[in-house]
């Protein structure tokens, strides 16, 4: 009989002040076990101070084939960047 534990995605905050970052996945029967396994698999050398786990099936991802359409609205908006605006050289810090 196959007793396949569900797949979980693991996110780790490597130290206070940083975001949780995706590090990989693992199998576990439930969330508590996923946290414990994540500790053993992904933080054997103090790589983290906090762990998030989420079942892989609960993640909704954007479609890579639609990448162009999805990100197109931001592509031609250079005026959202500071370098778009001309200032006199005398101004050093702005």
């Amino acid at each position: 009989m196959k007793s396949n534990w569900p797949l979980w995605e693991v996110f780790i905050r490597s130290r206070q002040g940083l975001n949780h970052k995706h590090v990989g996945s693992l199998h576990a029967a439930d969330a508590d076990m996923a946290i414990e396994n994540a500790r053993d698999v992904y933080t054997r050398r103090m790589e983290g101070v906090s762990i998030w786990v989420v079942e892989s099936k609960d993640i909704t991802a954007s479609n890579p084939d639609k990448q162009d359409e999805l990100f197109d609205p931001a592509e031609d908006k250079v005026y959202r960047h500071p370098t778009f605006y001309d200032l006199p050289d005398e101004i050093k810090h702005m």
Partner: protein, 315 residues
């Protein structure tokens, strides 16, 4: 888009060193090559625990035992990083386990050799992990994102493996005559199989070119093997051991060490299942898997029960 134009777009990305991510379009053959390579790699990490696990209870000191335990635990971790990378290509971990347990999947032949003496634990760290590092460092730049990221983690951890092995051998090299003899005898047995870890000669490795084009591979088998021989030569001198190859000598013209021919009939024999420990390794793996079955089932039942309980509590 036609397959040809998708393929051209894919190759363009690879050529520009843009990583391929799981849900991106990729040629079937690229996916298949990766599934084979990553799963074999994962299996090697898992089976690789067996020869060393053999010495954990007999390590000569607490310091050595702690080091070896941590190393073997790392190898389990490497297997898990790699299985997880492999699953992003749309395969199920259970199926990969099944292929390993049934003996239809391959793993590195080196783990079909026995660990007869404590010196073998040192030789594995120095030569086997050393060869693995040589192979793995370029894989950190592999075109497939999840594999490359897994390899970055693996490589960070490997250097401790090689250093602990070298330290074991260095200690023996300063020991009694018996210890020195044990060291030499062990290196004699591990040297050639370690060179075989890089795989067949380039001329006999027909898939190499494709893997290079896809940037899964960055160097050929022979290039990596040569690099390995070159670094080992100097390290062997520090251990006062002779590498068991009468043809090993510096070639001024090439700027590399020449070395003798590899006995490929032995290599293929071990690959085909006739190595000294093939059946023992598979039996140990199957036993562990079978004995863990009730744990896997119980954990699922427990998780299910808790879920029902929480639903009942909420309503």
């Amino acid at each position: 888009m036609t397959t040809a134009s998708l393929e051209a777009k894919f190759q363009e990305k690879v050529d520009q060193e843009v990583k391929i991510e799981p849900r991106d379009w990729m040629p079937d053959a690229y996916r298949k090559t990766l599934v084979r390579q990553i799963s074999q790699h994962a299996h090697s990490e898992i089976i690789g625990m067996l020869p060393e696990g053999n010495w954990i209870t007999r390590a000569p000191s607490l310091r050595r035992k702690l080091g070896l335990l941590a190393k073997v635990q790392d190898e389990a971790g490497h297997g898990l990083y790699l299985y997880s990378a492999c699953e992003t290509l749309g395969v199920e971990r259970e199926d990969l386990f099944e292929q390993l347990n049934e003996g239809t999947a391959k793993y590195s032949s080196i783990f079909n050799y026995p660990t007869l003496t404590w010196a073998d634990i040192g030789s594995i760290g120095w030569l086997v992990d050393g060869a693995a590092i040589m192979n793995q460092v370029p894989l950190c730049r592999c075109s497939y994102g999840p594999y490359a990221r897994a390899m970055v983690r693996v490589c960070k951890e490997e250097s401790f493996h090689q250093r602990q092995g070298f330290e074991i051998l260095l200690t023996l090299s300063k020991g009694t005559d018996e210890q020195k003899a044990m060291l030499q005898e062990s290196v004699n047995r591990w040297w050639w199989p370690s060179l075989m870890m890089f795989g067949p000669n380039d001329a006999e490795s027909p898939n190499s070119a494709k893997s290079m084009k896809w940037k899964i591979k960055r160097f050929t088998n022979d290039d990596l093997r040569q690099k390995f021989v070159d670094v080992c030569y100097e390290q062997a001198k520090l251990l006062n051991v002779t590498l068991p190859d009468p043809d090993l000598k510096w070639n001024e013209e090439r700027g590399h060490f020449d070395f003798g021919p590899i006995d490929w009939s032995e290599f293929w024999d071990v690959v085909k299942g006739n190595g000294p420990c093939n059946s023992q390794r598979l039996a140990a793996r199957n036993k562990a898997h079978a004995e863990g079955e009730w744990v896997r089932e119980a954990a699922i039942a427990f998780a299910e029960k808790n879920k029902q309980r929480n639903i009942a509590k909420a309503s």
